[in-house]
C-alpha cells in the first residue's frame, strides 16, 4: 500500500482525467477490470486442469460454461428459469404492495409507529429461512410457499426504508403545504411520497436481492419448481458440472437483478440530492 493514501487516490484520478484525456481515462479502468475478470477465469481453468483441485470437485471454467450453454438449449432449463423469476417477481411485488402503504402509515403517525415498534423489531430479525419447515408442512411444495417466503423476506427492508423516507420529509415543505391549504391526501401524494422515493428505491434494491435468495432457497429446500429444484436434483445425482452451471446461471440472474435495481436507485437519487440512509 502506498503511503500517500486517499489524497493520492483522489489526485491520481484527477490527474488521469486531465493528462491522459477523457477517453483514455475511461478506457483504461474498463480494460483493467476486464483483464482482472479474465485472470480470474484463467486461474479457475488452470486450478482445475492442473489438478490443484480435482476436476470432480471443481469442473474447469470451460467445462462449466459449455455445460451451461448446452443446458440453455433445453426446455427444462428455461421453464425452471421462468419459475424462479416468477417466484421472485411475485414475492417482490406483493412485498412492495404491502410494505409501502404500511410504511407510509407508520411513518406518518408517531403514534402508530410507537404502537407497532415492538412487534416490528421482533419480527424483522427472524431469519425467513427458519420458516421453511413450517411452510413445508402447511402450504407444501407449492408456488404459494415460495412466494410467501420471498414476500416475508422482502417485506422488512422495504418497510423500514419507507418509514425512514416518510419521516425524513422536509418539515418546512410540509408546513408550507399545510398553510397553503393543501389537503391531507394531496400532501401525502405531492410531498411525502416523492421525498420517500429514494429511500423506497434503496429498499427495493435490497429487497429484490432478498426475494431472489428466498425464492431460490424455497426451491432448493422444499422442491418448489425452479432453478433451485433442478440444482438439488443434480446434486443428489452427483452431477457436479450441472450444479456449477446452475450456480453460474443463478449468479447471472442475481447480477442482472442487482444491476437493474441499482440503476433504478441511481435514477431515484438523481433528482433528489439529499443523502439517504441505508438501513439494512
Amino acid at each position: 500500500m502506498s503511503a500517500s493514501g486517499v489524497a493520492s487516490a483522489r489526485s491520481v484520478s484527477e490527474e488521469t482525467r486531465f493528462t491522459a484525456g477523457a477517453i483514455g481515462a475511461r478506457v483504461a479502468p474498463l480494460l483493467a477490470a476486464l483483464a482482472s475478470v479474465a485472470v480470474f477465469l484463467a486461474v479457475w481453468e488452470l486450478v482445475s486442469r492442473r489438478g490443484l483441485i480435482s476436476e470432480q470437485d471443481l469442473p474447469a471454467m470451460s467445462t462449466t460454461f459449455r455445460e451451461l450453454w448446452s443446458m440453455m438449449h433445453t426446455r427444462d432449463f428455461w421453464s425452471a428459469f421462468v419459475e424462479t423469476v416468477r417466484g421472485w417477481a411475485l414475492g417482490l411485488g406483493i412485498a412492495t404492495a404491502l410494505a409501502v402503504p404500511i410504511g407510509i402509515v407508520l411513518g406518518s403517525s408517531q403514534f402508530a409507529l410507537r404502537a407497532f415498534r415492538v412487534p416490528v423489531e421482533f419480527l424483522r430479525p427472524i431469519p425467513s429461512a427458519a420458516l421453511i419447515p413450517l411452510l413445508f408442512l402447511t402450504l407444501g411444495t407449492t408456488l404459494k410457499s415460495e412466494v410467501f417466503l420471498a414476500t416475508f423476506g422482502a417485506f422488512w427492508p422495504l418497510l423500514v426504508q419507507t418509514i425512514y423516507g416518510v419521516r425524513d420529509v422536509d418539515p418546512v415543505a410540509l408546513d408550507t403545504a399545510r398553510s397553503f391549504g393543501v389537503g391531507r391526501f394531496e400532501r401525502l401524494y405531492r410531498i411525502k411520497l416523492p421525498s420517500a422515493i429514494p429511500y423506497i428505491a434503496t429498499g427495493l434494491r435490497i429487497s429484490s436481492a432478498v426475494s431472489l435468495i428466498l425464492a431460490f432457497t424455497a426451491e432448493l429446500f422444499m422442491g418448489t419448481g425452479g432453478l433451485g429444484q433442478i440444482m438439488n436434483v443434480s446434486e443428489s445425482f452427483g452431477l457436479t458440472e450441472q450444479v456449477y452451471a446452475l450456480a453460474l446461471a443463478t449468479g447471472f440472474l442475481g447480477l442482472a437483478i442487482y444491476v437493474a435495481f441499482a440503476a433504478i436507485e441511481r435514477r431515484a437519487l438523481r433528482w433528489h440530492p439529499s443523502q439517504r440512509l441505508e438501513a439494512s
Binding site: 500500500m1 502506498s2 503511503a3 493514501g5 486517499v6 489524497a7 491520481v12 484520478s13 479502468p29 483493467a32 477490470a33 482482472s36 475478470v37 483441485i53 470437485d57 471443481l58 408517531q110 403514534f111 410507537r114 404502537a115 407497532f116 415498534r117 415492538v118 412487534p119 421482533f122 419480527l123 430479525p125 427472524i126 431469519p127 425467513s128 429461512a129 427458519a130 421453511i132 419447515p133 413450517l134 413445508f136 408442512l137 436481492a209 431472489l212 435468495i213 431460490f216 432457497t217 432448493l220 429446500f221 432453478l227 433451485g228 440444482m231 438439488n232 457436479t240 450444479v243 456449477y244 446452475l246 450456480a247 443463478t250 449468479g251 442475481g254 447480477l255 437483478i257 442487482y258 439494512s280
Partner: protein, 261 residues
C-alpha cells in the same frame, strides 16, 4: 388531546399492541385446534424444556460457535481488505468486478458447491460458508467508509508526519468505523440466516438441524420452539452488537454532537 395524555396513550399502545398480538395468537391457536399450529403456551413450555437448558449445549452452542467464527473471520477480512481497497483507486478497479459478482450471487446456490469443494459437512464448510457471505457487507461498507474520509484529515495527518500503518490506525480506521459497524450489523443478521441454511442442508448438530429433524418427524411443538429460538437468537445478537457499537463509537457520537452545536 393534551401532550400529557397523548404521551400516556402512546406508551399504553406500545405495551398493549404487542400483548394484544400475543393474546390473539394464543386465542386463535386454542380455538383452531390445528396440530400444525400448536398453542402458543405449548410452544413456550416446549421452548423452556428444550432450550433452557437441556439441549442448549448440544445444539445452540455449536450454532453460536459457527456464527461467531464465521462472523469474526468476515469482519477481520472485510476490514483488512476494505482499507487498502478504499485507499487505492486501481485496487478498486481490479477488485470491484469480483466483489459485485459474489455479492449478487444468491448464497444458497453455492451451498451444494461448498460441500463438494471443501469435502466437509462439518464446521469447516459451515464456518467458511457463513464467513464468505458475511464478508461482503463489511467489505463494501469499509471501502465506502474509507473513501468518505475528509481529505483535510488525511492532509493534517500527513503534515503531522503520521505515515503508513500509524495513519491507518489513528485516522483511517476510526473515521471509517461508524460505517464498518453499519456493515457489521447487516453481516450479523446474515450470519444467523446462513447458519440456519448450512445446518438445514446436511449437518449433524445445531439449531437448523433440530428444525430439520423435527419437521421430518412431524414434531410440531419442537419445530415451533426452534423457530422461536432462532428469532430470539437473531434479536439478541443484534442487540448485543448495538450495545458494542454504542460503547465503541461513544467518542464519535459525542464528537458529532459537539460539532453540531
Amino acid at each position: 388531546m393534551s401532550r400529557r395524555t397523548y404521551h400516556a396513550a402512546a406508551i399504553a399502545a406500545e405495551i398493549a399492541v404487542p400483548l394484544g398480538i400475543v393474546a390473539a395468537w394464543q386465542l386463535w391457536t386454542v380455538h383452531a385446534q390445528d396440530p400444525k399450529f400448536p398453542r402458543l403456551s405449548t410452544i413456550l413450555v416446549q421452548f423452556r424444556e428444550l432450550w433452557l437448558f437441556s439441549q442448549f449445549g448440544l445444539h445452540v452452542v455449536p450454532s453460536l460457535e459457527r456464527i461467531g467464527l464465521g462472523f469474526g473471520i468476515a469482519v477481520v477480512l472485510g476490514v483488512a481488505l476494505g482499507i487498502p481497497l478504499g485507499l487505492s483507486r486501481w485496487g478498486r478497479i481490479l477488485a470491484m468486478p469480483h466483489i459485485e459478482w459474489w455479492r449478487a450471487m444468491p448464497p444458497p446456490a453455492l451451498l451444494p458447491i461448498s460441500i463438494v469443494l471443501l469435502h466437509s459437512i462439518g464446521n469447516r464448510q459451515k464456518v467458511s460458508f457463513i464467513a464468505f457471505f458475511c464478508l461482503f457487507p463489511v467489505l463494501l461498507n469499509t471501502i465506502d467508509g474509507v473513501r468518505g474520509i475528509d481529505p483535510t484529515m488525511i492532509e493534517t495527518a500527513r503534515s503531522y508526519g503520521l505515515r503508513g500503518f500509524a495513519r491507518i490506525r489513528r485516522i483511517v480506521l476510526p473515521a471509517a468505523l461508524p460505517q464498518i459497524f453499519a456493515g457489521m450489523r447487516t453481516s450479523l443478521s446474515l450470519a444467523v440466516i446462513m447458519m440456519v441454511l448450512t445446518e438445514y442442508f446436511s449437518s449433524t448438530s445445531g439449531v437448523g438441524y433440530v428444525l430439520l429433524i423435527s419437521k421430518n418427524t412431524f414434531q410440531l411443538a419442537p419445530m415451533w420452539a426452534a423457530i422461536v429460538l432462532i428469532g430470539v437468537l437473531g434479536y439478541v445478537l443484534n442487540l448485543l452488537l448495538i450495545l458494542v457499537e454504542r460503547r465503541v463509537l461513544a467518542w464519535h457520537r459525542g464528537w458529532r454532537a459537539a460539532a453540531a452545536q
